[in-house]
Symmetry: C2
């Protein structure tokens, strides 16, 4: 079995106080394809909240490079970040797929045995830029998340984080004010992801039902990008009407 | 030509001060299929902001009934509401299609000559309840709004108001805190709708690009309904990150 390179996450057994205030064994989160903007941003954010994160990549050297850059950028934070190839990242307790959308299903399929029985989080949106517009693409099963679930049927796939801007996610000096829609066909996966997201400052997890909802959630990311281009900003979503109901 | 029944909108020629503060001739807005929750809610909201609204329906008597109920409910507001059949409503300056989604294209087609050259606003979402879930349906042209545009190619169709809860929209005693995504292939239609929405308290219009974006915008309404059911509330959307950019 490949070893995690860099800060040896799996060697750390001590208990860590998580932002929620409870003490328990640190949860490892692996990020497949964690070297892109979304993956590395999420890795930094998760690590800043106390999760032990393993950045994965097809190339473990690329993963190490990104890990080192993050560690240097946030040196004073001493982030619990490790790095390795995707198989190493897939050995974590929870695994995020942060590859480009068209590589998500094939990437999880390659490490399927490692993902068996685990919560796997799909965060990619299938989009294309057509002229001045972003347009959602419809993957064969309706959503990237459904394609991922089909590729690893023994894993508990949840879709989440589609509408959180990557750059803001990676700027751990500031919280990201955003709601995070979580959907899955496995209630335990929804609960796990809601728990994780709830530990990230100012992100509010919302149970958005079954995995079929990943289709409109992913597609709506095109609208957000459209607004970003039009207004030269990076938007996220907050729902009104949830106060006192959540 | 059929005459507007009830409070004769087209007879009123006086200038009215709109909420924006400018004086100009009152803008008439017709609402095709304006007797359902979305249509009557929008009619009341528009009228409360000073627009002269003609509630339309296949049955002018049904339209009159809804007009009278709204007038009675908000008696002290003296709302500028008229009623008539859909052809009468289609004679207004701006026309909203508020029928159920599967009647939107055929309804505008029936009054196409009246809609020529006008801004037509499509607000329906094609959804189906499947078990405990709301699922978006994909109309033949990708969205209800695209179907409407195809049915009246000489009109300037814009899509808007998809994510504003109907009941809250109709409760004109309270503002609705929501962003309103507006998309169209006609910049003048986008500008007109943004102007109208901007006159409704606490609604913030956002230019969401071309009409192709109506597809993900409409589909996303299923997610909002899902959240409503789950959390026993009615949510709307606010985007973060737009302050200072809009």
């Amino acid at each position: 079995m490949p070893k995690a390179a860099g800060a040896g996450v799996s060697q750390r057994g001590e208990c860590r106080k998580l932002p929620g205030g409870s003490y328990h064994a640190p949860m490892q989160i692996g990020v497949l394809g964690g070297t892109g903007p979304a993956g590395s941003g999420l890795a930094a954010r998760l690590a800043s909240a106390g999760f032990e994160v393993v950045i994965g990549s097809r190339s473990k050297y690329r993963a190490l490079e990104v890990r080192d850059k993050l560690a240097e950028k946030w040196e004073e934070r001493n982030l619990p970040l490790a790095a390795g190839d995707n198989e190493v990242a897939a050995s974590a307790d929870i695994v995020v797929v942060a590859t480009p959308w068209d590589a998500a299903a094939s990437t999880v399929a390659e490490v399927a045995p490692k993902l068996k029985g685990k919560v796997v989080i799909s965060m990619a949106n299938a989009l294309a830029r057509v002229g001045h517009e972003f347009q959602p693409l419809v993957p064969p099963r309706g959503s990237v998340a459904a394609s991922v679930q089909a590729a690893v049927p023994r894993s508990l796939v949840a879709a989440a984080m589609h509408h959180v801007p990557a750059k803001e996610l990676g700027d751990i000096a500031h919280p990201v004010e955003s709601d995070v829609l979580v959907c899955s066909d496995h209630p335990s996966a929804t609960a796990t992801v809601i728990d994780i997201v709830g530990k990230l400052p100012d992100l509010r997890p919302i149970d958005a039902g079954e995995l079929s909802n990943a289709a409109p959630i992913e597609a709506f990311a095109a609208v957000l990008l459209q607004i970003n281009v039009k207004y030269k900003t990076r938007v996220a979503i907050r729902f009104t009407g949830l106060e006192g109901h959540i």
